[in-house]
Amino acid sequence: MNSRQAIAVVLSAIFFTIPVIAYSILLINVLILFFAFAIFAASWDLIFGYTGQLTLGQTFPYGLSGFVSALLVTNYPVPWKINLGFNISPIAALLIGALAATLASSVLAFPALRVKGNSLVIVSVATPLIVQQLFIKIWGEEGIPQVSHLVQDTVQLYYFGLVLTILVYLSLYWILRTSIGLRFRAIREDELAAQTSGINIVRYKFLAYSISSFYAGLAGSYFTFFTSHADPTMFSLSVMFQGASMVLVGGLGTLVGPLVGAFLLTFASGYLEYVSTYRLLLYAAAVIIIIMFLPKGLMHPFLERFRRKAV
């Protein structure tokens, strides 16, 4: 076990004991928000930070999965509901939601793969906004209320989120270590060079989109269970902006980056929650300062030290 893995294990252990030793409802709520955003930020980091495809449409799978899960747990009771102390139905709803979002994103990815650069940015901004308008027409501004009556206990939701976050980051760590991850990075560095080295760039971009949409979907459904309603603002650009700022603050193209960024920004804003204006102001200022002065993110100096030690 190297030092990085040791740090990860110790940190997970600390998070597992937090509800027991330092219980406060505000802290638990902020940490639940942290889990949702850590997963969402990681999904964007995979597609932009690792694969180099700048999309601002990550709220499409995020919101869509939230709505699908909300529909599943409110209107249609899932048949295989087993009582395990924790109802399995929200988990099933979560997975089905994320899969549905992946499927929808994959269908859209076919045409979206034809455009790149500036055009991809515009298409990706427009897509969630179309869906937002359609959903406002269908369900109204309120969306679907009263989702989480199945997950009543906040501490259960906390542990659920903790496990989910660990699973997401572990699986990302594993994917990025395999040759698939190597190909994603090759596409990021130089698409033409990747293509001439025999990488089927359309296939791997498609794969990156699908995986990233799945994770974004998980985050969206989890967030829905936390706020107990799925509303059309989940598709908004400000949600996208919050997720992106976490990745940028922590460090693009690293796994530690979105985790640290999500932690810092949810904590900073958790205590500014009463004025949402200051929250977005903080995010915007952070993004501008980071892009202008520290484009590799806050964690870059630490990661460099680790790397040097390893060599």
């Binding site: 650069g117 298409v123 940028l248 102001l281 501008i288």
Partner: protein, 291 residues
């Protein structure tokens, strides 16, 4: 009203709306189409220009026309500052420019909320009312927006294609090193271009704010419309932008009338996606290989 008169009225409305869309898009066409800088904060600059106009006319009691000029000057200054102190630092990286201007857009929006509150503000127009010509009603504020838009677009086209500074802008857009070799200050030209673009956004806001109203997030929809129009007209073609604005206005008015106004925004977005996917060079544009 006969069917023919109705269609004539819709066409007139469409042309008027098209004029306002053209003026919205022409500033973005300059910075995005010609200079190839995707400025996501263009919508926020539109909102800011609107609030400048509101400050001068409502809060400081200046006449509407004077407020328009003051707002244009203030917006020009803001644009120059943004280029000089923010965008210039990350110029080499396209993605950084997009994310930085995204951050600026959110920052401007939140600062507006902080200063002016998040509520809706009504703005007095330069002219009001409507006239009826041959059974067709012409809304005067929209007619003015149409006239100003066409005039400004022509001015801009002459400026970009017929003056020395204009050709300097095109050289910078084509190749920055070449521009430096020719003794053109890339920095000054970039500042000037973003200043003009921001000034045009403020002009659009001053003409449209009396028709719509003003609130901090008012810029996002104009930003998307401007994107549709610029892409539809073909990147880098200012004339194409004006024509596309008018076509888009006609589509918009007919959609609003026959399908209901709540479909208009969805149409905007569907058109943008369809054009980018099916004909990325724009319906009027030529295929240009960018290396």
């Amino acid at each position: 009203m006969t069917d023919l008169a109705l269609i004539a009225q819709l066409i007139v409305n469409g042309l008027m709306a098209g004029g306002t869309y053209a003026i919205l898009a022409i500033g973005l066409s300059l910075i995005f189409g010609v200079m190839n800088v995707l400025n996501v904060s263009y919508g926020a600059l539109y909102a800011l220009g609107g609030y400048f106009g509101y400050t001068f006319s409502v809060l400081l009691g200046q006449p509407p026309l004077a407020s328009l000029f003051l707002a244009m000057i203030a917006s020009f200054g803001i644009g120059v500052l943004i280029e000089r102190f923010a965008i210039e630092r990350v110029k080499g990286n396209v993605n950084s420019v997009i994310l930085l201007t995204f951050g600026l857009a959110i920052l401007i929006e939140q600062l507006i909320t902080l200063i002016y509150s998040g509520s809706y503000q009504a703005v007095p127009g330069i002219i009001q009312g409507a006239i009826v010509i041959g059974g067709i009603t012409v809304n005067l504020p929209r007619f003015m927006a149409f006239v100003v838009s066409v005039a400004l677009s022509l001015l801009l086209i002459v400026f970009v294609y017929r003056t020395k500074i204009g050709s300097a802008i095109r050289v910078v857009a084509f190749d920055q090193e070449l521009a430096l070799l020719r003794g053109i200050s890339v920095r000054r030209i970039s500042m000037l271009t973003l200043g003009i673009s921001s000034m045009l956004a403020a002009t659009a806001a001053a003409l449209l704010a009396p028709l719509l109203s003003l609130y901090p997030a008012v810029g996002w929809n104009p930003l998307l419309i401007a994107f549709v129009v610029v892409v539809l007209g073909g990147m880098g073609s200012l004339g194409g932008t004006v024509i596309a604005g008018v076509i888009y206005g006609l589509v918009d008015v007919f959609t609003g009338f026959y399908l209901g106004s709540e479909w208009r925004q969805i149409t905007v977005l569907l058109v943008i996606v369809a054009v980018l996917l099916l004909r990325p060079q724009g319906i009027l544009g030529k295929v240009v290989e960018r290396v």
